[in-house]
């Protein structure tokens, strides 16, 4: 494990070389090297049939550290991580350009250093089972991402968001530690493998719950999510992409890892996971719709997608509980695939949003508009991302949701009464989530990219540079490929799930591959028909005249951008519908009596996250206030200090006298 230290030191030394180009370059090199090695390992493991100690893994064991254990789950996550980190790095090279002027050079270096460390630690997380080292890399991950988040420290609220993130992650770490300690009571070393024996003869759900809180804080499940909507808007876009794309997925990894050890209480845990995930997903998307800050909106969508993934995991566990292998296999597979998909389209969306923000210098969607003409490629990237995240064919989001639906309907078709209720709730919320996501992304895409600009851009936005476009193109390719040819991914997925989870008799991949064949046929047909109709239209229009005219405004032709439909008005009916759940406050200044010629007015609506305000902020403030009030004992008077000694002695005497100690 000393090699981790060596790695850290070496990267530090290299990157701190006082030439900016060098730091960027070396960061890139080291990221690519790490990617190459770890991906090699991962692919090696994925291709090998059983979990065997061969190939690179054996080399690792021989020459490096036998702590590294790589099974298919780890391999899968490593691949996911590497892809997004690579794109993120590419994107960052373009994205950070404007900042290089006004940030200290050393700070930029530190940023890249943190990026390198983040990748290293994220790759180490799935590879380690030993509690000490696991927590170490876990904390390293938190630390480096914290440094990444507070990159733009001049901006208001960045620091606060970063600190919130750091503290909550620290708490999560403590929860994981507690769970580990409890589960390995009486063992010398603290590893996850102790869980096998612990679960064998203890109730499973309490420790699972502890782990769930610990990892859920990272993943951002309901009530544990409050850091997400603050951290993502504060962070630079590539960081948001990486964090939301892969880092929070490591929380999912943790939960999956624990799930592999489960031996009992499947019904309880599964039901719990399904319900909490359903709430998470609904809450996330319902909050997301009401956001005007595009990155905040995307952050809430991460919460929603975590909900979907968690639902998949829950279905997997519950399927084991009711002994239905198709349900659990489809559930796990859906969860894994959605993990991959979300990492793809969420990073894509964040990169596109970042490019837009970099051009228009605001995160408020109400101030954007008409950007599709100005930055078409970004717009297309965002459109694809939006369609994919809404789970619309022929894109990858649909495939993973299809898997989860398959699991659900198989459950519904074959289950008893109470399971049916669970499945029904899951199904209902999943459908609602889909519809709401559609509503949300129609809104955000249309408002940002379509129509006319809603505010005059001081600098005319232009399309971003080729590197950033490449960073967007890279995720687009798998997004479409998985959408059109799903049956290629299903086989490895099923092999992973079968190798991991207690799916009794192995599900043949054919169970899923037939629908997927048809889906790809459908997708192909769709594209084909679109092409055909286009061609027909073209041919017809050859003879006809195609003109442009003003937009129809009831005969009023001087329509300008002020009269466009805004995001707020678009979701107004929805907001009224959800008022009982989510309060939408608005701030406005009324006219004074003496105002004959009313001046400028502005009107803001904002929706507050009631979990954040009521369950996190209020108690925290309470504690801090109590502490502040407790501070009066330090009077600075010498006599009082002496008195404290006396009191201390008396206190101890009393305790002793009362036999309390």
């Amino acid at each position: 494990m000393i090699y981790l230290l060596v790695f850290l030191v070496v990267t530090t030394l290299i990157i701190m070389i006082p030439v900016r180009r060098v730091s960027l370059f070396t960061a890139g090199i080291s990221i690519f090297i790490t990617t190459a090695i770890s991906s090699w390992l991962a692919i090696d493991v994925l291709l090998s049939e059983a979990l065997s100690d061969r190939g690179l893994l054996s080399v690792l064991h021989e020459y490096f550290s036998s702590l590294i254990i790589c099974d298919k789950l780890s391999a899968f996550f490593i691949l996911v991580i590497n892809f997004t980190v690579i794109t993120g790095f590419l994107y960052s090279t373009g994205y950070l350009k404007p900042y290089l002027k006004d940030k200290p050079a050393l700070w930029v270096k530190l940023h890249y250093l943190a990026l390198v460390w983040l990748q290293a630690s994220m790759i180490m997380v799935p590879l380690l089972r030993n509690g000490f080292y696991f927590l170490m890399v876990w904390e390293l991950m938190t630390l480096s991402s914290f440094i990444l988040v507070i990159f733009d420290f001049d901006a208001k609220g960045t620091l606060k968001a970063g600190l919130t993130y750091l503290i909550q992650m620290h708490v999560g770490m403590l929860f994981i530690l507690a769970a580990l300690i409890i589960s390995s009571k009486g063992y010398r070393s603290l590893t996850f493998d102790n869980l096998e024996y612990y679960f064998l003869n203890n109730p499973n759900w309490p420790v699972f719950l502890l782990f769930f809180i610990g990892f859920g804080l990272k993943a951002g499940f309901f009530m544990l999510h409050t850091w997400l909507p603050d951290a993502h808007p504060a962070a630079p876009s590539h960081v948001s992409g990486i964090m939301s794309g892969v880092m929070i997925k490591l929380g999912i990894y943790g939960i999956l890892r624990i799930t592999t050890y489960l031996l009992d209480d499947f019904a309880v845990i599964g039901a719990f996971m399904i319900i909490i995930s359903a709430i998470t997903g609904l809450f996330g998307v319902m909050m997301a719709i009401l956001q005007h800050d595009v990155k905040k909106l995307l952050a809430y969508h991460s919460i929603e997608n975590i909900g979907i993934i968690g639902m998949g995991i829950g279905l997997g566990i519950y399927g084991t509980a009711i002994g239905n292998n198709i349900v659990s296999a489809a559930g796990y597979a859906g969860a894994l695939l959605h993990t991959l998909n979300h990492s793809l389209f969420k990073s894509l969306l964040f990169y596109s949003a970042g490019s837009v923000i970099g051009q228009v210098h605001t995160q408020n969607v109400e101030k954007m508009g008409g950007l599709m003409k100005l930055m078409p490629y970004t717009a297309w990237a965002f459109l694809i991302g939006a369609l994919a995240i809404s789970g619309i064919p022929p894109f990858n989001g649909f495939i993973s949701e299809f898997l989860i639906y398959t699991s659900l309907f198989n459950g519904i078709g074959s289950a008893e009464f109470y399971p049916l209720i669970i499945f029904f709730i899951a199904m209902f919320s999943l459908v609602l989530i889909g519809g709401l996501a559609l509503l949300c992304f129609t809104k955000v895409f249309s408002v940002i990219f379509l129509g006319q600009p809603r505010s005059d851009y001081h600098v005319k936005p232009v399309e971003v540079g080729p590197v950033m476009l490449l960073a967007k193109l890279l995720p687009v390719i798998p997004v479409i490929l998985i959408g059109i040819l799903p049956f290629v991914v299903i086989k490895p997925l099923i092999s992973i799930t079968n190798s991991l989870f207690r799916v009794d008799n192995i599900i043949p991949a054919e169970t899923f591959s037939l629908p997927f064949k048809f889906i790809s046929i459908g997708a192909g047909l769709l594209l084909f028909i679109v092409a055909i109709v286009m061609i027909i239209r073209k041919m017809l229009l050859l003879k006809r005249i195609t003109t442009t005219g003003p937009t129809w405004g009831c005969g009023y032709c001087a329509v300008d951008s002020k009269q466009q439909y805004t995001a707020t008005s678009f979701v107004q009916e929805y907001a009224e519908l959800t008022r009982p759940i989510i309060k939408t406050g608005h701030t406005k200044i009324n006219y004074r009596e003496d105002e004959i010629f009313p001046g400028e007015r502005d009107f803001h609506t904002h929706s507050d996250d009631f979990i954040r305000s009521k369950i996190i902020i209020r108690p925290a403030d309470f504690i801090i206030n109590v502490l502040r009030r407790a501070a009066i004992f330090q009077t600075g008077k010498l006599q009082h200090y002496v008195l404290y000694v006396l009191l201390f002695l008396v206190f101890i005497f009393l305790l002793t006298y009362l036999k309390l100690i």
Partner: protein, 209 residues
């Protein structure tokens, strides 16, 4: 005979708690030094020149001559002879002394050492608590210093009551320590008296969060 010394010592403590003229402090402290000398002599088991000189140095020379001299010097240097400001009124102080007396009785009873006469222990505790009391109720630093000296006397009382006998080297080390402590304290006290123009303890309550 010895008991008389102890009782006298106790009375001196009551006085020192009641008064607030620095002159009286110094006088009472001198008296206490002499009393301690008497006790030490009586308690002394094996008469040897070395022990005798040591006790002489520790009590008469140190407690009755040197320290009072230093205290006088402080008075003259700072020109402050008494402070009429108290956090607790004199008669309340005396009441507190009574309570303390009770407590020390209790303690001496609870932790009675078979080989030692309880009265000695009572007085020793009484002295200790008086010192602490002086520090905590008096609002001026001179009183604090005196309180510290009283505590040192208490330490001395304890050692003769329990009858610890350390090697001479160690003993002198202890003596030296206390001596230097008093010296440095008085030095700083003078400096504070100059800088802050008084011994109000409240002027020294700036350092806090």
């Amino acid at each position: 005979m010895l008991i008389l010394f102890y009782i006298l010592f106790g009375i001196s403590l009551v006085y020192i708690a009641a008064t607030e003229k620095f002159k009286h402090y110094i006088q009472i402290y001198t008296i206490q030094g002499i009393l301690l000398f008497g006790m030490a002599i009586i308690e002394l088991k094996n008469f040897s020149f070395l022990n005798l000189t040591f006790i002489l140095a520790e009590t008469i020379i140190f407690k009755s001559i040197v320290v009072p001299y230093i205290l006088r010097k402080i008075m003259q240097r700072t020109g402050i002879f008494s402070v009429h400001k108290r956090s607790v009124l004199g008669n309340y102080t005396v009441m507190l002394m009574m309570i303390i007396l009770g407590i020390s009785l209790l303690l001496a009873k609870v932790l009675s050492i078979p080989s030692v006469n309880e009265v000695y222990m009572v007085i020793a505790y009484f002295t200790l608590f008086t010192g602490l009391l002086l520090i905590s109720v008096r609002k001026y630093l001179f009183g604090h210093l005196v309180g510290f000296l009283i505590i040192e006397n208490a330490v001395f009382l304890f050692s003769i009551a329990i009858g610890n006998e350390f090697p001479m080297l160690v003993n002198s080390g202890i003596l030296l320590d206390i001596f230097i402590a008093v010296l440095i304290m008085s030095m700083f006290l003078t400096r504070i008296g100059h800088k802050m123009g008084g011994f109000e303890a409240d002027t020294l309550s700036k350092l806090k969060d």
